[in-house]
Amino acid sequence: MSAPAAAATIARPPEAARGVLAWLQQNLFASPLNTLLTLASLYLLYIMAPPLLDWGIFGASWLGSSSSDCPNRETACWVFVRARFSNIVYGSYPIAERWRADIVFAVAAAIFGLLVLPRLPGKLWIGLAALVVVPAVSSIFLAGGVFGLRSVETTLWGGLMLTLVVAVWTIVTSIPIGLLLALGRRSSYPLVRALCVAFIELWRGVPLISVLFMAAIMFPLFLPRGVEFDKLLRALVAFSLFNAAYMAEVFRGGLQAIPKGQYEAAQALGLGYWRMTGLVVLPQAIRIVIPGIVNTCIGIFKETTLVLVIGLFDFLATVQTGVSDPAWLIGDHIRVTGYFFVGLGFWVFCFGMSRYSQRLDRQLAAGKAYE
C-alpha cells in the first residue's frame, strides 16, 4: 500500500480477509488450538486415507474368476464380487427367467430418473403410478404363473432384487396405512383414537426383529389349519405394519403443524371430514412431512437386511453366504471385500435418498417463500 491514505476514497477490505492464505488462516489456523486440531486431522487422514486407497483400488485384485486370483491378503479382492455378482443381484432366481428381473430394474430406474428431474408435467401422476401400479405389476411379473410366465417361488428370490422388493413394498404399503393411523389418532371418536394409539405405540415399543420372529414362527398359529402364507409375504406384512406405525408418527407431526384456523375455515365452507382432510389439510401437511417420510424410507431400506434372520436371502445375506462358501474361504480379505461392497451398495441408495429429500425440502421451502 504505497498510495497515500488520503487519496483512497473507498477503503479496500483488509488484505488478510481475502485469498487462499486468508481462508487457510481463518478456517484452519485461527488459534493455537485450531492449528493443533488441523494437524491432528491431517495426521488422521494421513494414517487412514492412503492405506484405504491402496487396499481398495491400487493394490486390489481386479481380474480373474476364482479365489486363486486373489493371492494378496492385505488388499481387496474384487474378483469375489465379479464372480458372485449375479448371485448378489438375483439370488437363486432361475437364470432363464432373470430377464424378468432386468425389466423390473429398468422400469424402476426409469421411474426414479423421471422423479429426480426437476420439472415434469404430470409428475404427481407418475409418482402415484409408481407407488401403486408398478410394484403390483412387477410382483406379479416376477412371481409368474400367469400369462404363460413360468412360476418362480419366492423362496428363490434373493439378492439385491429381494432387498428392493421388500423395501418398495414396505414403503408403498406403510405410507397409506400410516396416514390412516395418523388420522385415526386425531379422530374425534374416542374408540378409534384409543385403538390407533394402542396400535402405534405397541409396534413402536418392540424391536423389528421380534416382529419378524412373530411373523415367521407365530403367524401360522393364528390361521386356520391348512391355510399357509408364503414366508416372504409374512415378512412383508410384518415390515409394513411395523413401519406404518413410524409413518403414522411422521404424519401426525405434519397434521399437528396445520393451524386450527385451516380446519375451521374448511368447516365454515361446509366441507365434510373427508373433503376437509383431502382438499385442505393433507395438501399442506404433505409438504411438511416429506423429509420425515424420506428418512423413514431410508430406515426401511436399511432394515430390510433383517430378513436374513428369518432365512430370506437379501443383498447382505447373499454376500454373507458367498464369503462363507468353501471356495472363497482363503482369507479374511474376501469377507472384508464383500462387506465393503454391501456397505457401498447401501450407502449409494441411502445417501442418494437423503440428498433427494434435502433438495425437495429446499424446493418446498422456496415455494413457500413465493406465497
Partner: protein, 377 residues
C-alpha cells in the same frame, strides 16, 4: 348417531379379527398338544449361556435364563448409550467447529456411518475384525493391562480387600459435599447476584477425598491383571467377542444419529442469544454454559430419548451375531425348547415395551425439569 355407528362397526371389526386369531390359535395349540401357562419357567433350562452376570449353569431354570438374558440386554444397552452419547456429542460439536477440516471429517463420519445398515456394522466388527484375531500369544495389547485375541478381550479385574468400602463411602461424602456447594453457590447467586465458582473445589473433593481414603485404608483395591500362562491368559475378566462387537457397532452407529441431534440442537439456539450474552459481558465459557447449553438441551433431549430407545431395541440385532440377550436366548432357544410361543413372545415384547416405557418416563421427567418456564397466559 353417526359417531355411535362408526365406533360400533370399528369395535365389531376389531373383535371379529381378534376372535378369528384367538380361536385359530387355541385350536392349533390343542392340536399340537401345547399346555398354556407360565409353569415352564420353573423347569430346568439345560443349556449354557456364554455370558452371565449372575450365577447360572445348565441346571438353572428357564426363569433364571430369562433373567440372565435380560441383564445382558441391559448391560450392552447401558454401556452403548454412554459411549454413543460421548462419541455423538464429540462428533456433533466437531461438525459445528470453525475448523474446516474438523467439520468436514465429522460430516464424513456421520454420512458414512448412518447410511449403512446396523446389521452390516455388527457383521463387520464381529466376523471381519474380532473373529480373525490372532491367538493369545500374538494378542493386541492395550497399555500392558488389556489384551485382545481370538478368545476374547481380557481386562484387569479389581480385587477388593477388607476396608475397600472406605473408598465408595468417601466418594459418596464427596458427592454430597459437592451437591451442597453447588446448591450454596446457586442460592448465593440468586440472592446477591455474586457468582462463586465451585468447580475447582468440586474437582479437589471428588478426586482428593477418595484418594485420601485409599491411602488411609492401606490401598485396599488391587488389580488382577491378566497374564499369559501357557497357551492362554490367566486372571482378569474375559469379555466375549459378541459383547465387544455389539457394543462397538451399536455405539458407533447410534453416535452418528446423536451427532445430528446435537448439531440440530445447538443450531436451534438463535444467534441473538449468543450476542446478547456476550454484550452482557459473559466470558465465552459462561456464554456456552449459561446461555447456549441450557437452550440447546431443550431441543436435544426429546429426540435423544427416542434415540436411546432405538439403541435399546436395536440391541436385539445381537441375535444375528449370537450375543446371549433376550431375543437370542429367550425368544430363540427357550421358545424352541419349550414350544410355548405365546408365553415366550408375550414376555419378550413386554420386556421391550417396559424398557421403552421406563426410558421415556425418565427422560420426560428430565425434560419437564429443563423446559422453558413460560408465562401461563
Amino acid at each position: 348417531m353417526r359417531a355411535v355407528f362408526v365406533q360400533a362397526s370399528v369395535a365389531a371389526a376389531v373383535a371379529a379379527i381378534a376372535y378369528f386369531f384367538v380361536h385359530n390359535s387355541l385350536e392349533n395349540l390343542e392340536r399340537l398338544n401345547v399346555k398354556t401357562g407360565f409353569q415352564f419357567l420353573a423347569r430346568p433350562a439345560g443349556f449354557g449361556i456364554t455370558q452371565h452376570l449372575i450365577p447360572y449353569d445348565e441346571d438353572s431354570s428357564y426363569g433364571r435364563a430369562f433373567l440372565v438374558a435380560l441383564l445382558n440386554t441391559l448391560l450392552v444397552s447401558a454401556i452403548s448409550v454412554v459411549l454413543a452419547t460421548i462419541i455423538g456429542f464429540t462428533v456433533g460439536l466437531a461438525r459445528l467447529s470453525r475448523n474446516w477440516l474438523v467439520a468436514k471429517l465429522a460430516t464424513a463420519y456421520v454420512e458414512t456411518i448412518r447410511n449403512v445398515p446396523l446389521l452390516l456394522h455388527l457383521f463387520f466388527w464381529y466376523f471381519a475384525v474380532l473373529r480373525p484375531l490372532p491367538g493369545p500369544r500374538q494378542s493386541v495389547v492395550f497399555g500392558g493391562v488389556a489384551f485382545l485375541n481370538n478368545r476374547g478381550l481380557y481386562l484387569p479385574a479389581p480385587i477388593l480387600e477388607p476396608g475397600f468400602a472406605a473408598i465408595p463411602i468417601a466418594l459418596l461424602v464427596a458427592g454430597l459435599a459437592t451437591g451442597a456447594l453447588v446448591w450454596w453457590s446457586r442460592r448465593t447467586r440468586l440472592r446477591t447476584g455474586r457468582h462463586h465458582s465451585v468447580i475447582w473445589y468440586a474437582i479437589v473433593l471428588l478426586i482428593g477425598l477418595p484418594f485420601v481414603a485409599d491411602v488411609l485404608a492401606g490401598f485396599p483395591i488391587g488389580w488382577d491383571i491378566p497374564r499369559l500362562a501357557g497357551f492362554n491368559f490367566q486372571g482378569g475378566v474375559v469379555v466375549i467377542h459378541e459383547f465387544v462387537a455389539l457394543t462397538v457397532g451399536l455405539s458407533i452407529y447410534s453416535a452418528a444419529y446423536v451427532a445430528e441431534i446435537v448439531r440440530a440442537g445447538v443450531l436451534a439456539v438463535p444467534k441473538g442469544q449468543v450476542e446478547a450474552a456476550r454484550s452482557l459481558g459473559l466470558r465465552p465459557g459462561q456464554v456456552n454454559r449459561l446461555v447456549v447449553v441450557p437452550q440447546a438441551l431443550r431441543v436435544i433431549v426429546p429426540p435423544l430419548t427416542s434415540q436411546y430407545l432405538n439403541l435399546t431395541k436395536n440391541s436385539s440385532l445381537a441375535a444375528a451375531i449370537a450375543y446371549p440377550e433376550i431375543m437370542l436366548v429367550f425368544a430363540g432357544t427357550v421358545l424352541n425348547q419349550t414350544g410355548q410361543p405365546f408365553e415366550v413372545m408375550t414376555i419378550t415384547m413386554a420386556v421391550y415395551l417396559g424398557l421403552s416405557l421406563i426410558i421415556s418416563l425418565v427422560m420426560n421427567w428430565y425434560n419437564r425439569r429443563i423446559t422453558l418456564k413460560e408465562r401461563t397466559s
